[in-house]
Amino acid sequence: MSVKVENLSIAYRMRSGDCCPVEGVSFTVADGEIMGLAGESGCGKSTLGNSLIFMEGRMQHLGGRVVVDGQVLPIEDFRAMRPYRMAKVSLVPQYAMNALSPTRRISKLTADLLRSHGVREGDVLEEMKRRIRLVGLDEDVLSKYSFELSGGMRQRVTIILSTLLNPSLLIADEVTSALDVSTQRAVGEMLMEFRDRGFVKSVIAITHDLSILAQIADSILIMYAGRLAEKASAADIVNAPLHPYTQMLLASLPEVGVRYDTTTLTGIPGRPPSLVNPPRGCRFADRCPFARAKCAEAPPFVQVRPGRHVACWKVSQGWPEEAPKAGPGGGPGGGPEGGRA
């Protein structure tokens, strides 16, 4: 097993209270696997991904552990994580392509980055050039400033930089958002290519875009309000989702070829719960058409079939497919933007 996360919980300190965007999360990512971590805004996916490598000031490690290649990562200790960063676990943060310093050339940025990780630039320069050519860029990208490159080129350079030391785990946070459709494809294929060539062992791709994950991911992990909802192979998630949230989410995505006059799509009414004071039971219950009294108890994230994990009473207890006519929290609450918290 390349990456194993066991019962991880992370809290986030805010003025209005502590919220827990990651609660009791456990999953594994095998060697050579690209796992998609999907969910909507506020579900905690970015916090989860970032916590594996860098706990920002307000994040607190509440419990659980992370094991990469058999070694437990000291994620709660900023200093102790230094030797692991970039070498074992690497991150392409959200908005990374906009965070490249505009006053230094790419080659200088690379040298600085490598030096801060104790690597001499000379040793890896050739490899870097090779990888730059591999993704279809010209070597002279190194001598340019970041603003001279287009968004897609910057994103690719960022990914090359992050994977230069061949980490075991790459965490890619929204690397394809804010890119044009054709560049999205190029970057997505680049991640797969890097995985195929062994530049990275496993990849966790964090995004809200399920269709990109359907292309590049081997498995998909769906998060909702800080907890895991479902995990399965990408094909299973897309073709036969089990969790009601996944099902409703997929049903709300327009695809090329679907038009309003032939098929009307609907969104999910309501809003995700606040993470400062989350409900005790299943967090999706108030928006779920299948909710019953049992859902006041939080469903565990269990394996219901080989390779399929779901946190849902309906699935684990085998409730029927028809939504109850009236039930606790069943049905949308007064309009698509009903005031349910």
């Binding site: 993704v135 279809g136 897609g152 290519e193 359907a214 292309q215 327009p254 695809e255």
Partner: protein, 304 residues
Amino acid sequence: MSALQIDHVSKLFRASAGGDLTPALRQVSFGIDPGEVVTLIGESGSGKTTLGKIILRLIPASSGTVMFEGSDISGLRRTQLRDYYRHVQGVFQDPFSSYNPIYKAERVFELLRGVYFPHLGQPAWQAKISSALQAVALNPGDVLGKYPHQLSGGQQQRLLIARALLLDVRLLVADEIISMLDASTRVDILNLLISLKRSGLAILFITHDLSLGNYVSDRTVILRHGAIVEMGDTVKVFGNPRHPYTRNLLTAVPELHKKWQPPALGNGTRPAAAPGPEVPAATAFDAPPLTECEENHLVAEDRA
């Protein structure tokens, strides 16, 4: 009569004082009829937002005319411009950015009151707001009295659409209005646009996302580097794309149930990622001419 008619509109930007002129829009022409949704599809740098701003009179066109209900909008001043905004409104990409963060969200309504409804008494004004909020399926109790950061993105966007509905809007320019919203709320806003369209509103839907454009629009205009490469009936443009750029876009769109074509060659090797259309920005100021390849479907000559 068409609601909006754009005729050979071009826009040139000067990079810096005395610098080179770059064409952001080149000879763009098309029209929108009442009750019609026209999607303007383009990637970054295509000029789609620029065109939206020109139609909203936020920036002037360098050449060409924009006619709204038969009259040229470039000459409008003061009161004429105010009347124009009574009928033509816009909603933008970042809902949070459209609100002034230090005021309450409903101030966007108040901004209109002094200019457009100076003689309306308080109860009549409240009634107007209520009916506009109902038209966008918002519960007044949920959104009135709140600050923008207390509302969700979906609520913010709906409120902005409600604001446009307060006036007698006939054309709505929707510039990437759902790209910053969660997937589960996007489709609800799209359905709202469709219901508005059915009551006669003309909508220019600007987006880079082809599946959204396909879902919601009657006609599609595909923009590349400021010029139209293909346009026409949505079903025809998406079903039978003729221009290589359109085809490229359609093959690159990630779909849930279909892998990217061409597929991997197998055994771990994959063709090196195509660089994608990273061609330098167009330097020609004119646009390739459009020819009709089938009824309601025009394609530009391929000069790439």
